[in-house]
Amino acid sequence: MKEKLEEIEELVNEIEVDILKLQSLFSNFLKKHLKGLIIENYIGEYPTFMEPVILGEKVKIGDDVLIGPYVYIGDNSEIGNYAELSNTIIFDNVRVGTNIKLDNCIVTKNCKLNFNNSNIKNCILKGIANSEKEVLKIYF
């Protein structure tokens, strides 16, 4: 699984992302490699998990959060209150604000979504953003 993730991470970090290749790697990862419920080490108050869900180390999760199905969250990432994530990869050290809904997204390493109340679908998210307008989005 780690190798597949690294492959995706490499691809999304390229200047010109090969969207076709990404789509196939992404759906293959979610539907074939992501399995079960690995949630031992999160910090937070009993969110809802719909498997498959895999969490890295020290993931912080707020109140009333809904995670899954098909979600990977990398180490040290932080998910705000009322967030909802499905079909999504979140890499390490990411922050997702309050009441943000992500479906079919890839959030790159160190990305900070420092804003609230958004519904975002079908894209790669990059950068440090204090409003939705400031996020770099690459649709796929």
Partner: protein
């Protein structure tokens, strides 16, 4: 300026008179509750249509904590796994224990951990179904979180609901929890192997279920000895 203690007392008096919502929020609270129920029904209907369109039979299992929901599903799946392509969705506050138990009998399972919620709702099931290729299944079981109260607020869009209680919960368990019996088609009284030892009045339990819902079919089972499990499968038309 009233002191802190007086403020608390005033607020408690207020709460006593307004049922835990401020006067100005009352309408909003009622309205929100109604809308949540309506939305849940809408999704449940959508789930049912999707499943029917794909010729998938669906059964939702509710019941008391530890009544034997998983044990009965294990037995059923063991017997019919060669005949159907089965998906079992297990709802629990936490852990994957139930899904692992059922998976060992050759059914695909999905565990939902509801965290602080005491029942599955239609949105959970909708999210699962939306992300699955339904052509791969003939039969879906949903095991709800164990309790006899919350699941009555949320229908899940299945064709049938079965409710499971057991001898060990005492012969009053059915009359004390009428809601889910009203909305189920089959009532299972499990752990019948223990009836003699515990001296439970099983007839009373059966009568209570019939009184609450004259249309309900009642069956006594033992997941331990396998008693009446095939009969239950017949009643489920599987």
């Amino acid at each position: 300026m009233p002191n802190k203690k007086e403020k608390v007392i005033t607020r408690i008096q207020e709460l006593e008179s307004i049922n835990l919502a401020r006067e100005e929020d009352r309408d909003l609270v009622v309205q929100t509750k109604k809308e949540v129920e309506k939305d849940n029904e809408l999704l449940a209907l959508q789930i049912n249509q999707e499943l029917r369109k794909n010729n998938i039979k669906s059964i939702d299992v509710v019941g008391a904590i530890g009544a034997g929901k998983t044990a009965i599903l294990e037995k059923i799946v063991e017997i019919i796994a060669s005949k159907y392509r089965i998906l079992v969705i297990c709802g629990d506050i936490t852990t994957r224990v139930d899904a692992d138990r059922i998976q060992s009998h050759n059914a695909e399972t999905i565990q939902i951990n509801t965290g602080r919620e005491c029942a599955l709702n239609a949105y959970h099931i909708y999210q699962i179904i939306k992300n699955k290729d339904l052509k791969n299944y003939d039969l879906i079981f949903i095991e709800n979180v164990g309790n006899l109260i919350c699941p009555s607020d949320f229908i899940l869009g299945t064709d049938k609901r079965i409710i499971i209680v057991s001898i060990t919960e005492g012969e009053w368990v059915i009359e004390k929890h009428p809601m889910l019996f009203k909305m189920s088609q089959i009532a299972v009284i499990n752990k019948i192997d223990l009836a003699k030892r515990l001296g439970t009045n099983v007839e009373k339990m059966i009568d209570d279920a019939k009184k609450i819902n004259p249309n309900i079919e009642v069956i006594t089972t033992s997941a331990k000895t396998g008693e009446n499990i095939t009969k239950l499968i017949e009643k489920l038309e599987l």
